[in-house]
Amino acid sequence: MIGVAPGGFSGLGGIKTEMWCTLSAHSEMIPGSRVRSERYVSAVRLYVRLRRGASQGALLSEWQAPHRQVRQREIEIRFALGAQQRHVISQLLTENALLAAFGATGAIAIGRLAREALGRWSASTPDLQFTGNIQSTGRCRRPGLGCIAVLWGAPDSQASASRLQAREATKRTPRVPERSQLFFFAVIGVILTQSLWRRLEPQVAFPIKQIIEVSPSAGRHPFRDLSPALARLKIVRRHFLPYPWAQASDYGAPKRWPFHLVESRRPILLRIHGLSVGARETLESQGTGYSRGKPDCGTGVVAAPPIPLVSNYTQRHGMTADASLSLVW
């Protein structure tokens, strides 16, 4: 034995592990082991932990790489099926035009509402009336708001009066957005819609059937809020890790380690918002478990992706995460 685990730690699986050995030792310790020869070994679990500082944006940008490949392949298949180039191009243009129109319409509507609200707020704000004779003596006996008002209102000149008249005229005139303003809002809307669509694209690219959004309440253990959300799904196995032994320096505070493992028959996307203490960030983890044939035991065993697929996937896409394989036998 080369070491002893800290007290209370008994592994990540459901069983209370008493010894940890290397994967290579499996074939030597277990007669008839097929770990190395059998590609689709069940009970192999992939544990992934997000690196510190790994942000949602970084993960999404990494996930966009496979999406581009999927899109390219889709177009290649269309060409292979006989689609003409102009049909594919027109389809892509239509898709983007619809997105742009949707975003522009929404942005114009929001812009009009914002203008009206701003106009009402401006009308309800009392104008600063000051007609006193200001003499700048360089001394102010009552510093504060009064001094600021005096300085802001002075000098009582023709210019300030004309500004007041212009403001009154503006209040009486119905506000009609100018074309330049509409164009500005439309451009902003197009940009925002494209940005939103890029964020949604990875979910479309991956065969994710369900998305779980969890926002743990402040002051409660995050997994307490996560549990009922997952209970609605057909999760075969769940691992909630309270990690009482986590170091306080790891992720802000003990017992709040952003580590979540979900094994499901179907791919899911799990989002936990604001899990990390002291930082509002979104952590994402994609469970890609699948079931192979009949469950091995009463409650069912979900096998993680086979080892070759896992290693290929993580290496090919360079995911920003540490990964480890664990074989519970």
Partner: protein, 81 residues
Amino acid sequence: MPADFVIDSPSGQPVAISFVSGNYFPVIGITPFAGRFLNPDDGKGDAPLSCVASDRFWRERFGNAPFQAGRHIVWNGRSVA
């Protein structure tokens, strides 16, 4: 637990073993109570079989004896350090 497997050790007492990759413990990020954890170099080539015991396992099998690196257990005729 029904979904996992417990191996009967030669001595007759069941022992739950997890076979893990070398970066299992670094990913979890915990520190060993005594000795060291497995690392990616363990299990490569002719390296001896190594294992890490849980705190409970150590106390039940070795009492309150202080940890000594290199204690061996025999498993199916193989020595595991």
